[in-house]
């Protein structure tokens, strides 16, 4: 679904920034790679939609509703964005 040239590190930064746009004081470093982000940062459905929108805009990766299941933890987000 993805065809991106992002590196792991770039994808990681992007995810962190997209979360921090909604939760500016979110400390992504303090959260393990396998922690579900929505629950950890208390993102409601609308927050999640804007998270996805930011990710899509900044990565250039088209994200459809069917991809949401890949956007759960830092690890799965990075995997999705890097096409891994």
């Amino acid at each position: 679904m993805t065809n991106s040239t992002l590196t792991d590190a770039e994808a990681r930064t992007l995810v962190a920034e997209a979360i921090q746009r909604i939760v500016p004081d979110a400390d992504l470093d303090a959260v393990g790679d396998d922690v579900p982000l929505r629950a950890e940062f208390e993102l409601d459905s609308l927050d999640f939609l804007s998270f996805v929108e930011t990710l899509s805009q900044r990565s250039g990766v088209g994200i459809t509703e069917n991809d949401y299941e890949h956007l759960v933890t830092m690890r799965t987000c990075v995997g999705f964005l890097t096409g891994g």
């Binding site: 921090q20 909604i22 939760v23 500016p24 004081d25 929505r38 629950a39 208390e42 409601d44 459905s45 609308l46 927050d47 999640f48 939609l49 804007s50 509703e65 069917n66 949401y68 299941e69």
Partner: protein, 585 residues
């Protein structure tokens, strides 16, 4: 008015029509459907919801199927729910909780939520559910205003939201936690339950005894605690039959959180009074998980919200067709007006139209609905449920119903006015806690004045128009701008805030704050982010999604922020008559 959407005709096999139901209905007859406490000892919600079914031999039926976030399933039968809620009532008794005292829950959709609700009702104490996404500020305010004596919560929520507030809440005597005690000021709920004596007997309960305290929001002032009585169960039961087509033994899923009135009236009480199996789904919205739940659990009656339905629409009807939704018999929606597109989409995606209905925290139960089997006019909230008289009243200068010499006037068909109800239905709130003044303001000319604007067509269908005040409706949740503004004023950089609902295609409205900075603070992006974070920490789910700096907030001559004007500006609308305004200070 112009009809751009075709009516949807429905046929309810063997069913009665709306007019027949309305003609034959009385509240006395509805009361007779319920059991009452054995020996004529009164009416208690928990008896109708649980013990009655055990007494009548249905103890083995699954009352609640709890689906945890990890997908694991816990079934609770009516017999088990009877035992657990009885033990909880005994725990409250042992802790010295008196009848009428408030017991709050701050829990997710998990077994303890239901046990706490029903156990509190058995005790004759008053159950006050709090939404688990509330930040510490809304939690503190509600616990304080409700003089809550006992709080039931999780260890995690206690640590994040409550622990640091304990000294500010002298009335809060006990905090019962699930998942292990947090500190020496908490008690282990499960230990207490395990050692409590079984076989609790519900004390005599009058239909007018207080049962529920639901906080809601007004335009000004603090949250208002609407008090409901045990007799409300008559309305919960009757309206669920008519507006949700709920029947004995159904599998029923109400997606609303018990922290809001829908999640209590129809997410706990009404389905249990039918001996239904209620689905409690702990997770957040996820299209595939939701469809999977509908399919796997063979859900027959589904009660959800416009925001959720609009999000499902984004996936298209094809996704719905991947799941076997053949068990579904009735789909209903509440929380904000349901746009006609969604009603019609329901037919395409779910095979059923979505039945919109309307009610409020104060009404306690559904008041206007697309009755089972009645012709649906997409976009309309339907017609008053049997036993309820509704009207549209002519507005006065302030936008609310005009009451002149104690009398109101009915609007003409098609004319917008304030939606009002004739008092007398059993689930009408009995007043705001400790606030007779604000209670009195809800009534005029012999009517309950809802604060919602609507119009009625020539055939008696009601159509929602908007709020008559500044209260925000976001994703079905009522949010008081004043509560949000007050929280921001505590930020050192903020001198004043004005908060509005900004229209949003998915959520109806989202909370937006306009903030005036104190001298010496610069409107930087960094400060804006700091304020967003501050809002989320303080308010949780009530926090603004957007913040704009505005050093020139418009004021009335009495010095109040003109939210209506802020909204007009936001929407690029004409600002209207600004003669009562004073320009920025």
């Amino acid at each position: 008015m112009t009809q751009t959407w075709n009516p949807i005709h429905q046929h309810l096999p063997g069913g009665t029509t709306y007019d027949e139901d309305r003609a034959s209905f009385t509240w006395e007859r509805a009361r007779a459907e319920l059991a009452g406490l054995p020996g004529g000892r009164g009416l208690n919600i928990a008896h109708e919801a649980v013990d009655r079914h055990v007494d009548e031999g249905r103890g083995d039926v699954t009352a609640i199927r709890c689906i945890a976030v990890d997908g694991s399933v816990t079934d609770i039968s009516y017999a088990q729910l009877g035992d657990l809620s009885g033990r909880f009532a005994q725990v409250l008794t042992d802790l010295g909780v008196q009848r009428g005292e408030r017991v709050a829950s701050l829990l997710g959709r998990q077994p303890e939520q239901y046990v706490a609700a029903l156990g509190t009702l058995k005790r004759g104490a008053v159950f006050c559910p709090l939404f688990s996404s509330f930040g510490p500020e809304p939690v503190r305010e509600r616990l304080r205003l409700g003089s809550v004596k006992v709080l039931v919560t999780t260890a995690d929520l206690y640590r994040k939201r409550v622990a640091h507030l304990r000294d500010e809440l002298p009335d809060l005597r006990h905090v019962l936690v699930t998942g292990g005690v947090e500190d020496d000021r908490t008690l282990d709920l499960h230990e207490l339950m395990a050692s409590a004596a079984p076989g609790y007997t519900i004390p005599d309960t009058e239909p007018e005894d207080p049962a529920l305290l639901h906080f809601t929001s007004g335009t000004t002032g603090k949250p208002k605690g609407a008090v409901h009585v045990h007799g409300a169960v008559v309305a919960h039961h009757a309206t669920a039959a008519y507006a949700l087509d709920l029947r004995r033994g159904d599998v029923f899923w109400c997606t609303a959180d018990p922290g809001w009135v829908t999640g209590t009236s129809y997410g706990i009480i009404a389905p249990l009074t039918f001996g239904a199996t209620l689905i409690s789904y702990a997770g957040e919205f996820d299209a595939k998980d939701w469809y999977r739940t509908l399919a796997e659990q063979r859900v027959q009656v589904w009660y959800t919200a416009p925001t959720a339905l609009r999000m499902l629409m984004r996936y298209g009807a094809d996704l719905a067709h991947d799941y076997d939704l053949s068990a579904l018999r009735h789909v209903a929606s509440v929380g904000e007006a349901l746009n006609p597109e969604v009603v019609v989409w329901g037919v395409e995606a779910l095979g059923l139209p979505v039945h919109d209905n309307w009610w409020q925290t104060e009404t306690g139960a559904i008041m206007v609905s697309n009755h089972r089997g009645m012709e649906i006019r997409p976009g309309s909230m339907g017609r008053p449920v049997p036993g309820v008289d509704a009207a549209v009243l002519v507005q006065g200068a302030d936008g609310r119903a005009e009451v002149a010499d104690g009398a109101v006037r009915f609007a003409e068909p098609g004319e917008t006015g304030e939606l009002a109800l004739r008092p007398g239905w059993p689930s009408m709130f009995r007043g705001y806690l400790d606030d007779p003044e604000r209670t009195a303001k809800c009534f005029g000319g012999g009517w309950y004045l809802s604060g919602d604007l609507a119009r009625q067509d020539a055939d008696g269908y009601f159509w929602f128009v908007g709020r008559a005040d500044d209260v925000i409706k976001s994703a079905g949740h009522l949010i008081g701008p004043f509560e949000v503004e007050t929280a921001f004023m505590e930020h050192p950089a903020v001198v004043e805030a004005g908060v509005i609902g900004k229209p949003d295609p998915v959520a109806g409205e989202v909370v937006k704050a306009f903030v005036t900075l104190r001298a010496g603070f610069e409107p930087t992006e960094e400060l804006r982010r700091d304020l967003i974070a501050f809002g989320r920490r303080r308010l949780g789910g009530l926090a603004p999604k957007e913040i704009t700096f505005d050093q020139h907030l418009p004021h009335t001559t009495s010095g109040k922020v003109m939210r209506r004007l802020l909204k007009a500006r936001e929407l690029g609308l004409p600002e209207g008559d600004v003669s009562t305004l004073e320009q920025a200070r």
